[in-house]
């Protein structure tokens, strides 16, 4: 433990590695926290307890119940979400506790606060904890505020410290897609800090392999367009034409929909994100709104000027195939060792597109791929994964981390 940096260390005592996930949709925060923690821990002392919950809860009361069930060196971390995933369950409202413990797991942490104006530096700060892990298999879990603007800079900052030797995995906190404020949690048995505009680095060390999966399931629709004018996440022009005009024409929508039925407009464009041309596929950018004043499109992450972009389309089958693909990649990464569990960072946009039935199918294929191994995670505002190459920020994607 290094008190100077607020890190919390946790080494489990002589016990085989385990992974547990529990959830509750009880409306009482204390009862929900207690139920989810009980199901995840099953009386064991976790090294790491991840808590994901929807924004409606009175978080301190919920966390008190989780704290009362952990050991003195357990790390508690987590965030608010746009939905929770646990073995066989996917919910909008509720609390999920995902825990791991036993011999051969280590966790070290770093927090960075007020990250928005200094994302790159914050990324380097939270990545520093990985150097404290001395186990053969390592990964940096990242949980950060999902409303900081360009989260990619934070991920770049982390990669500049971690380098290519260890993977980056994680997701950005959500608030049920209301885009107002997200919260991050960090602490232990004696107290958990509830923050906003923060980044959390969780260095995970294991004696057994860790596997990462990244997949989405979108495909190109129609002809490519050049982003002729953009700034950060705002696209002004596609092929030299106002971006909103292009979008409405491509989707066969009338201008009036912006005024009369904004809800329908948002749903339609949600199903047609932009895909940016990349070596191994397309990088997805969710369009979450339009500004009729300057005819621009608003995306959740930066769309570089000069990029070649397609309108993307998908269907439930393709998205569910993506889930299967992601889980399979993660399990492949274990080098033949059996998995004890899987962490999932699934895009909130995928959940919206798939709908409740689709989501059940999605977790069904994940469960099938895992064959009874527990899993858990949350619906994110941006997914973080770097296994190959240097790119670590993704959208409309399902990122998975399998633990052997």
């Amino acid at each position: 433990m290094n008190p100077q940096v607020g890190g919390v260390a946790a080494d489990a005592r002589a016990m085989t590695r385990w992974f547990g996930a529990g959830h509750s949709t009880l409306s009482d925060p204390a009862a929900a926290g207690a139920a989810a923690a009980r199901a995840a821990f099953e009386g064991r002392e976790p090294v790491l307890a991840l808590v994901f919950c929807s924004v409606g809860y009175h978080v301190p009361a919920m966390l008190d119940e989780v704290r009362s069930r952990v050991g003195p060196s357990t790390v508690i971390a987590g965030c608010t979400t746009s939905g929770q995933i646990t073995t066989g369950e996917a919910t909008g409202e509720g609390v999920a506790v995902v825990a791991l413990g036993g011999d051969g797991f280590s966790v070290r942490t770093r927090i960075s606060r007020d990250v928005t104006p200094r994302l790159r530096a914050a990324g380097t700060e939270i990545a520093a904890c990985l150097a404290e892990i001395d186990r053969p298999h390592r990964a940096l879990l990242m949980i950060c505020d999902g409303l900081t603007g360009n989260q990619h800079e934070l991920v770049r900052g982390a990669f500049s410290v971690v380098g290519a030797a260890a993977p980056l995995v994680g997701g950005c906190a959500g608030d049920d897609l209301t885009f107002v404020r997200t919260y991050q949690f960090h602490g232990g048995r004696d107290g958990v800090e509830i923050m906003t505009d923060a980044g959390l680095g969780l260095a995970l060390g294991s004696d057994a392999p860790l596997g990462v999966g990244i997949a989405h399931g979108w495909r190109k629709q129609g002809a490519a367009m050049v982003v002729t004018s953009s700034r950060d996440g705002r696209v002004f022009e596609l092929d030299g034409e106002p971006a909103l005009d292009v979008l409405l024409r491509r989707l066969g929508l009338d201008e009036s929909i912006l005024v009369d039925d904004e809800e329908t407009f948002r749903e339609r464009v949600f199903l047609h994100p932009l895909g940016l041309s990349r070596r191994s596929g397309e990088d997805i950018r969710v369009i979450h709104g339009a500004d009729p004043a300057d005819r621009s499109l608003l995306c959740l992450a930066d769309v570089p000027q000069g990029a070649l972009a397609w309108l993307m389309e998908s269907d439930p089958d393709a998205l569910i195939d993506g889930a299967r693909e992601s889980a399979a990649q993660a399990l492949d990464g274990l080098g033949g060792r059996p998995a004890v569990g899987l962490l999932a960072f699934d895009c909130a946009g995928r959940r919206t597109v798939l709908g409740d039935d689709g989501i059940q199918q999605e977790i069904g294929v994940i469960g099938k791929a895992l064959g009874g191994v527990p899993y858990g995670g949350f619906y994110t505002n941006g997914e973080i994964a770097r296994l190959r190459g240097a790119l670590g920020m993704h959208h409309f994607t399902l990122v998975t981390l399998a633990l052997a």
Partner: protein, 576 residues
Amino acid sequence: MNHWSTHQLTEFFAAVGSSQDERSATTVAMERASEVLEAEVGAVLRGGRVEVAWGMPGDDLDAALAAAAGATIDVAGLDELHVATARFGAQNRGDLLVARAGEPLSPEERQLLQAMAQTLGLALENITLLSAERRQREEREREAAERLALLESLREARHDSLTGLPTRVLFLEKLEEKVRLGTPTSVLFIDLDRFKAVNDSLGHRAGDELLAAVADRIRHCLRPGDVGARLGGDEFAVLLDDTTTDEAVPVARRLIDAVRRPFPIFGRDVFIGASVGVATHSDTTPADPGDLLGNADVAMYKAKKESPGKVVVFAPQMHAEALTRLTLTSDLQRALEQGEFHLQYQPLVRLGDGATAGVEALVRWHRPGGRNMAPADFVPMAEENGLILDIGRWVLRTAGAQLARWRATMPGLHLNVNVAGRQLTDPSLAGDVRRMLADFHLPPTALTLELTESVLMSDPAAAIARLTDLKAIGVGLAVDDFGTGYSSLSYLQRLPVDELKIDQAFIAHASPTVEDLAVLRAMIDLSRALRLRTVIEGIETEAQLVALRRLGCDLGQGFHLGRPADPEKLLTPVAA
């Protein structure tokens, strides 16, 4: 459709091209190239050494590259990495490097890396050019700012910041223009009267307000072609375009009248005056603007000396007088050191019984070559240059010592000593008096200090304060030359004085006329009403003596009663 790799180039170009400095351009290029090519490691090398890297530490990459046999490197914790580099830059050479696990770069990817490197090279050149341009621009802007500041300071040097009027520099330039044209041009040199008193009593801020207000009044008296200027302190000058001396004098009078009107300063009316010297340029006078202004200055000085509030037109002989003044100043400075001053004493006689009540000490200047000078000829100059303080101190001690000697045989003898206006404002005066009395064991009542009416009335409030200090010592105070100034009776009543010395002008006739007597009686009655001792100066005939004795005047002084004399000569009559 093109290969995916070409799609990336415009993005890359936009990102690298927007970098503001070399460091960020190389870093962005390294990051984007490795992200685009899905390479685990990216770096920029200069001179064969890693300058910036990510994906692995730069030092490790240097070591791995040095150890590499072929196109791959081995790095702990990673699979074998395929290295690809592309050169950039002409003058600012370097290599853009990526290292990727799995597959080596395809030909298209190598081409893309080359294009990215060239883009980086262009961006770096651009940044070099732009920063050179920026430096140049900053340099130009700095120079422009300096020039502006210089112009501003020149303008300031040519305009007085307090009044907004031109300064001496600009005034002389304008004057030179006029003089060159050959038209008659008059210069007025204006000096304010009593400005110093305002500054001293109301403070410098009031003084500044007053100067600004004076400048406004001067401006209002001028025509468009005329120029007003502030030369410094309380001195102003005016250039009257195409104006002869005869035309200039009425303008000067109007200026004086304008300045005499009260100035409302900080809620009270302030009264000052002005003295003006006039000099005119014509075909026959020198054309140098500095000389012309100097002539007006000399004339102003004469005006001030003769009587403040006057207009004096320059005449050539004034230069000679000015020269005399200069000589006088330096001679005065020597006089004290050389012991050229001495004192004479004139008796003050009790008119009731003819007894000598006291003496008035009068300073005399024995100049080398045997010439004697009366106080009227050098005291004003000594007041002007401040020497009066040293002279006054010398007079006080010398007369005090003499009085002490006399009082050994004539214990009741009193001494009157004149105090100049400048001395009255000297804070050390009271201390000097006290010390003198103590050193010569004289009672304070033996000494009376005489102050002229004009000194007391120029700033009665300050005078009352000073006189009160002196009064506290216990010495007597006299108003000298009473009736020649314009005493405010209300102030007279409040002044802590003991004695009025009626000026000899009131007994101009050898035998006083009925009118003379009426005036004298009124003054003596006034004096009595104020419980003051009365002294009449300048008694030169028996008739005057008889008349004044009859009017009840207390003491008299004059040739008829005793001329000023050296102390040793005065000893016998006094002793008698």
